[in-house]
Point group: C2
Chain length 259, copies 2
């Protein structure tokens, strides 16, 4: 997450409770809920007391894999934080085609922009695994902002990086499928790649059909894209684990992300 360079962090506030992400939860609050809320980047600067207030106001909800968490176009009456599991933010086109905006993991905010911007959810959110979320009323965020102005900086920083992230989503859409795949594999190779004598081993962690829709395409086309990468000697495909021989080639095909 990106942080302001020029702005000194606010003084820790005096208080009975020590601050930090490892603070143990008040005994009457579920520890996982506490951890998720305390770890949420939207209000990293918030005091424990404020987070505790959030936790008490929050509604805990279990979601099962594949179920819908928010639907595009619905009135945004609240926002959430992911406590456990993974979720996917996507747009559903009239023809059923999907575009993935973001993948969410624990402590990530759900639909927070909708809460801030008012109006309706601009995208769908779906649980990719069984999981738990907490749901908060929109006002809770406004109140937090009033009570603890330092939180505004976290919000600004988070929103700014989200905008930047969106531009890269759009850029991906301008690429053809093999390039999008290369880009995805490149990222995954850097993030979760395991070094082996042969090359970086990456576990997809999902079926190829799911990867296809995540990349905005269909299994058939993805399959051909994989075949091309294999023919070019860039990767080897073994079921749902990929061995990357040439990371640089992936970066090049994915359109210039050498970092």
């Amino acid at each position: 997450m990106i942080d302001f360079v020029g702005i000194p962090a606010e003084e820790p506030r005096g208080g009975i409770i020590a601050r930090g992400n490892d603070v143990s939860a008040p005994s009457d609050i579920r520890p996982d809920v506490w951890a998720a809320l305390r770890g949420c980047p939207l209000w990293r600067a918030a005091s424990d007391a404020a987070v505790e207030r959030l936790a008490r106001a929050a509604a805990v909800r279990d979601v099962s894999r594949g179920s819908s968490i928010a639907r595009e176009g619905d009135v945004a009456d609240g926002f959430g934080v992911l406590v456990s599991g993974r979720a996917r933010v996507f747009h559903l086109g009239a023809d059923g085609r999907q575009i993935t905006f973001e993948d969410l993991a624990t402590t990530d905010p759900l639909a927070a922009v909708a809460a801030l911007a008012g109006g309706r959810y601009p995208a769908n959110i779906e649980a990719m695994t069984d999981g738990t979320i907490v749901w908060l009323r929109r006002d809770a965020l406004y109140e937090l902002l009033l009570e603890e102005p330092a939180v505004a900086r976290n919000l600004i920083s988070n929103l700014a990086s989200r905008v930047v992230n969106f531009t890269s989503v759009v850029q991906s859409l301008a690429l053809d499928v093999p390039s999008r795949l290369a880009r995805y594999l490149f990222q995954r190779a850097l993030a979760t790649g395991e070094t082996t004598p042969d090359g970086l081993r990456v576990d997809l962690g999902m079926t190829k059909g799911e990867l296809a829709t995540a990349l905005g395409t269909v299994p058939e086309t993805l399959s051909r894209a994989f075949a091309r990468l294999k023919d070019d000697g860039v990767v080897d495909v073994q079921g749902r684990t990929i061995v990357v021989f040439d990371v640089g080639a992936l970066a090049r095909m994915g359109s210039g992300y050498e970092d």
Copy 2:
């Protein structure tokens, strides 16, 4: 372009100091520069004194039609405000194809997210007409935030609506060209359409070639899209003014924005 989803108004704020866009400029500051900075939504809540400080720190620059204001990938060393003229924010694909993110007009901020997020410009900005911009160092924004915390609200609101706007850009990309055209015409018809006995008259205000690149396509394809709308009896094309017969049909083709 593209501003399909309604963007929520920012909350007006109370304050000690009188504010408003009609305050006259200090005598040693160019009136147009003052007006642009005072009107910039990023710091609507800022005091006149703070805006005056910004104005004194700003570098005024004239730009000519077609010249580049910021280049994707360059290090973001500052941001700007558009004083006069129009500009276009877009991504330039490896194959030269362009995707328009935003159209900017007077008082709109330029590259402000880049300043907030740090790092590099995520998109190109180009002047669509001759115009004037003021350029500020990134720190000016940080200092303003420290001096006047109320400004944070404006920033948050602006960023949130920008994220929402981006989702609608992405949604447009999922449509085919005739639908994108319909969507664009629908918007323009509502925003600047002149009622006549025949229907809503819309002046494109640019060459069809420019519209084509704004919609992410080429003149040939745009021409065919127009021909189709004409054949369907939805619009009539007279040079660069369009007469819309059936606004509802445009909305339907543009994928369900009936509001």
